[in-house]
Assembly symmetry: D2
Amino acid sequence: LLIIIRGFPVRKFLQRFSIVFFSSHFLFLSSVSTRSMASKTPVGFIGLGNMGSPMAKNLLRNGYPVIATDVFPESCKGLLDLGAQVVDSPAEVAEKADRIITMLPSSPNVIDVYTGPNGILKKVKKGTLLIDSSTIDPSVSKEMAVAAEKMGAVFMDAPVSGGVGAASMAKLTFMVGGVEEEYNAAQELLTCMGANVVYCGQVGSGQAAKICNNMLLAIGMIGTAETMNLGIRLGLDPKLLAKILNMSSGRCWSSDTYNPVPGVMEGVPSANNYQGGFGATLMAKDLGLAQNTATNTKTPIPLGSLAHQIYRVMCSRGYANKDFSSVFQFLREEE
Amino acid sequence: LLIIIRGFPVRKFLQRFSIVFFSSHFLFLSSVSTRSMASKTPVGFIGLGNMGSPMAKNLLRNGYPVIATDVFPESCKGLLDLGAQVVDSPAEVAEKADRIITMLPSSPNVIDVYTGPNGILKKVKKGTLLIDSSTIDPSVSKEMAVAAEKMGAVFMDAPVSGGVGAASMAKLTFMVGGVEEEYNAAQELLTCMGANVVYCGQVGSGQAAKICNNMLLAIGMIGTAETMNLGIRLGLDPKLLAKILNMSSGRCWSSDTYNPVPGVMEGVPSANNYQGGFGATLMAKDLGLAQNTATNTKTPIPLGSLAHQIYRVMCSRGYANKDFSSVFQFLREEE
Amino acid sequence: LLIIIRGFPVRKFLQRFSIVFFSSHFLFLSSVSTRSMASKTPVGFIGLGNMGSPMAKNLLRNGYPVIATDVFPESCKGLLDLGAQVVDSPAEVAEKADRIITMLPSSPNVIDVYTGPNGILKKVKKGTLLIDSSTIDPSVSKEMAVAAEKMGAVFMDAPVSGGVGAASMAKLTFMVGGVEEEYNAAQELLTCMGANVVYCGQVGSGQAAKICNNMLLAIGMIGTAETMNLGIRLGLDPKLLAKILNMSSGRCWSSDTYNPVPGVMEGVPSANNYQGGFGATLMAKDLGLAQNTATNTKTPIPLGSLAHQIYRVMCSRGYANKDFSSVFQFLREEE
Amino acid sequence: LLIIIRGFPVRKFLQRFSIVFFSSHFLFLSSVSTRSMASKTPVGFIGLGNMGSPMAKNLLRNGYPVIATDVFPESCKGLLDLGAQVVDSPAEVAEKADRIITMLPSSPNVIDVYTGPNGILKKVKKGTLLIDSSTIDPSVSKEMAVAAEKMGAVFMDAPVSGGVGAASMAKLTFMVGGVEEEYNAAQELLTCMGANVVYCGQVGSGQAAKICNNMLLAIGMIGTAETMNLGIRLGLDPKLLAKILNMSSGRCWSSDTYNPVPGVMEGVPSANNYQGGFGATLMAKDLGLAQNTATNTKTPIPLGSLAHQIYRVMCSRGYANKDFSSVFQFLREEE
């Protein structure tokens, strides 16, 4: 048995916004066939924030005409300069495009953009492909899919991992949920914006996969921080302890790739005063989604739930904008 | 960056008793020089239980005369037949051997065997090397080291990972704490009984390393069980979810090497109704040591502590003798 | 300083469904003035389940004509026999009554009954008083209040404590949230169905008060169970320990009124094999509401959250229908 | 059913050091018979710290000659001035007194004072009554009792609640464990130093009762803090919420007698910026004892254990010396 894991270049990762996938390209990268620009029909894009804006630009760069809108019209300016058409409402986007991508902050925004009075579904054409890349509750994704189906459209969830840097460099990872037959059509667009596209199953599965990974990540990170802190108090050298854990059954991504103890690894937030990386407040948000999802499905998640509470308290105690590995600092004795 | 990890043959592992190290030999294996049998002086061995007995036999096999004792004299029978000398008390062992290994169930036994009225230290010779392979509180190891030093002897802690099977096959891993200059002398004996010997630092460090690893292991296992259960409830295929986690930041030993969900991996306890492996009751014991150690050093271990409580409850609810990965079953909805 | 607490007759309490208030009447009971039957206008009632049915009957008994409906028309039979008028939909109720009470299982039902296609708000008359006695997320109560206000109606939340028995005997407690000026109008009706009516503040406050109380109750109960179990293991007599706690700072409702240890008190579920009382599954539901509410308001609730997880696991392990004090049994060593 | 609880004057309580008993005198106060001073034989007292010193003075005030010692001889000065005889070691005290009280910081000190080279048991006379008022692990109390019995002496544990103020005013509460026949003899002395003396059972029971109470107290306090914080976030007025909880099943000592929210009650630490009262660091110490005791008896204490971790983290984050009700502030959103 020989397993080879291609490492993740952690230093680059600091530019990222959200953590999930670090697999190397060869596993998932879809080969993008050369297409003639002329044949490309417009793609709608709704939500031009820090993430949506560079994503939409990558569609333009790949030759897709873009029809865009945002509740803050000024967000569309950069895209307008690059040749996108800017319209007034999601409904108008739906009139003009039969493939639409949405990238919004949270569930209520998604509900409004799809089912609100000027929403997509008010004007959507039959057969339109709707791809939502927001990170939201999977049950909302399912509701949107049902509503879309009633109008003859197809809805898929495709939350991303990777932050603003990855969005700019088209290096995002997409976890996709939805009807399998439509996956290829979605993949065509997503590969313009990301390096990895993973099909996860029925609608909502993309959200589910992202939530699950980030919950286990949070547990592993806090566990690693506790363990390293305990070992140090017991007199162990942190580098030696990390080495021992990493060759043993305590090994996890937080111990071997993103160690939270300053001085153990280079190129990670713990080596840089917990600047950059994935903020505690974002982890708290994702754990909130995990918590709600678990509550709604009556699934016990004792450690996930406690991890949520710990990040919640950290956000109240001045750690909101530090990388989530700063839990090591939070648990450590004050100097 | 390319890291190659040589996998652990999990199927064989089922024979093991205690989980910590699975690194392959080349990392640590000391090259055992050929020695002439004639030059070997006797080694004392105290504690001939399930683990101690095969360990002592491996010393005999390597040509070391063994002077043995146990509170239950009948335990010594097998060793007697193989040529060991059996004596009445630890004190008597100390009179006859200047290298002594102890393998005992818990701290009070260690204290008694070393400092009791018929204990080793009553008769120990100056310069004697004392190696304790019991898993106990590191602070007790330190006390024993101080007491030994007063008598001019040297004490090292060297708890093992790997169970009865590994003990029989001389495949144990030893984590060694103690004065560095004495490490080579200890290593000479330990390599007769184990495949890996790791030097961890000052006395007590071996215990500390073992406790830390097993605490993080428990956290990772429960976290993996919760996550897999949540994902399944959300409609994800367990194999696919495991694959996604393992290429992502949720990856840990419990997700990629010892997955707790039946059907995801072969050759692990979850594939065998949680038979074999490392029992919940043993994990609860190790977490109890972690808890005591953390309490005594005033170190917060929120997840480690909750993991301890969960294994404690499991032991009360019929999971005591199942493999510790059965926490997946414990958390799952009853059929 | 002398405080007198009028005790709660616990034995009767076993008939109850939901636990919150046990204060004696004199604190809150509104004096119901004698009114002439002739002057009473009809009251609408939607949701005639185990709780709603006896509540509506008490309105009839107090001389209020009742216009009723339920998704299961057969539920209305008993009420019909007592002289209520049964109609087909919430909208129809709204056409015929300007005071309407709703008693529904959960948030989605409330949303549907108020804002659905045949919902109350489709036909509600200006000035109508809407009282929702369901236990739901306070944020849904607020949404309903906004929607009602748009139609010129007034919405109040008034969740109850006390179960089916209390509903039959008009002994419920209502926690009321909504505009203070409308409180008297609500109180007129609620006092026909309950013994205590407490005004809690703006809309949603009734739900908030109920959720908060039940969360602290769950924490106190599990804490009491752990403490009693620990004391017993340490050799203390359970009755003596309860007595000591109850005169000390460990005192709480679960230790002095509803002790979870068999043999300590009479007339409580622990004296009756945890039959009756307030089921673990109902507690898990209320803790789920607390958890969602806390998550949505970014409030850390470490113990509340762990209490939720413990009741969730209990529901998976065969304790769903036992009284919530059976957590003592759950934590205890198996015989 | 009418229960009357005589209230505790909370304001005075602020002078106290340790929280357990607040029951009024009539429940337990032993009637102290008038005795002629002449008949009193000397009482030994070992450990003259902040607590021991005023306790010993109260023995003097009650006419008992005192033979005292302390590892820091200067601690004995005040007592010397009041007429006590100061000697060099516990052994010497044991030679001169047949009733000895010890008041020491922690288990290792107790072990040393009783069984060390100059310890009490080296010189203890047959029939001597040994009363240990330290707060330590009950298992150590049991060990001391066994060791004392071997020498023909009787050992009882009698930890106190109430701090320095209560010690000065002879208002301590003693929880006593030991052979019942000796209880009266112990009571004679303890009533000189305290207001309440409770017999709890066999040796170690006093410690067990104190540990149990304080664990449930910590759980109730954190639970109350979470609940009040959640209610406030949901828009409830804190005073109203406290009132509702206190008449309901959420009621506990922390909600009705020692509310942690500033502005809800007067005369408690929360009204005084969490000054005075019972410091978080002392609560963490008692929870550490509970945790160790639970671990050693294999008793699951999920909430107790998490409460311990929370106080441990608070101690690391600047709350060590604030009253333990400051957990409300710790959990609250930073301004």
